[in-house]
Symmetry: C2
Subunit: 147 residues, 2 copies
């Protein structure tokens, strides 16, 4: 077993599939620390009737509860879709050390509003495009079925 | 009794004072709907050991629970300090109709990262500077005492 970015993004995709199956916009996230998943989340906006119940927020809260601290400087957040503005702020405040996202989100991704400005912790690292096609495909299927 | 912006900002300031008394960065918020306060919140980052437990998020969640819906289009959010990027995103997602903040926050306010871009719902209205001096004073006292 190789614990690389694709491995953990697949775990985030499993979370996204849970959201899909529940009729939620299919976004999933996991927080990894020292090659262990310490928090998982999927979009639960409809189920919780809470517009802020995004995958990243839930995964970050779970990870913080798990380690009993409010900062995740050694942690990596894997999320299937580019975080929104709210989640980019949550990632900043929880000082997530590395962010990996699958597919971009021109409609709701943070870059639409932040432009060239960096919303994360100054020392944070960012990667994107990991399993981008699979992450995007799940979103496409969801929205195609809604039309 | 006049239910104007100053009246509700004073209620937000009472929330900020609760945060101050608990050793938290003194930010408070209330959500008002039809001249009634339907949600209150103060910063509880330290108490909840959760970097995302900001006054606005707590007040919005309380308001949504109160009305049993996830959108607050008819609601006004009063917050003593300019919202951060995360909270501006939460305000967007919950479709808060009007935002009133007291004092600007050049260090952590959303405008630092969004620049000229509008982070809120396209139809949302924004006012600021309501009881700005009182809101800023509480922040100054807090940070002066920490030095």
């Amino acid at each position: 077993m190789v614990f690389d970015d694709a491995y953990f993004m697949k775990e985030a995709l499993r979370q996204a599939q849970l959201a899909f199956d529940a009729g939620e916009v299919p976004v999933g996230a996991v927080v990894v620390w020292d090659n262990k998943i310490i928090g998982r989340g999927h979009n639960q906006v409809e189920q919780l009737n809470d517009a802020t119940a995004h995958a990243e927020i839930i995964a970050i809260t779970a990870a913080c509860n798990h380690i009993g601290a409010k900062y995740l400087m050694e942690g990596t957040l894997y999320v299937t879709v580019e975080p929104c503005l709210m989640c980019s702020g949550a990632i900043y405040w929880s000082k997530v050390g590395r962010i990996v996202f699958g597919t971009s989100d021109p409609k709701n991704g943070y870059q639409k509003t932040t432009g060239e400005n960096w919303p994360f912790h100054p020392k944070a690292q960012l990667s994107n495009g990991v399993m981008a096609e699979e992450c995007a495909q799940l979103m496409k299927e969801f929205f195609a079925a809604r039309r």
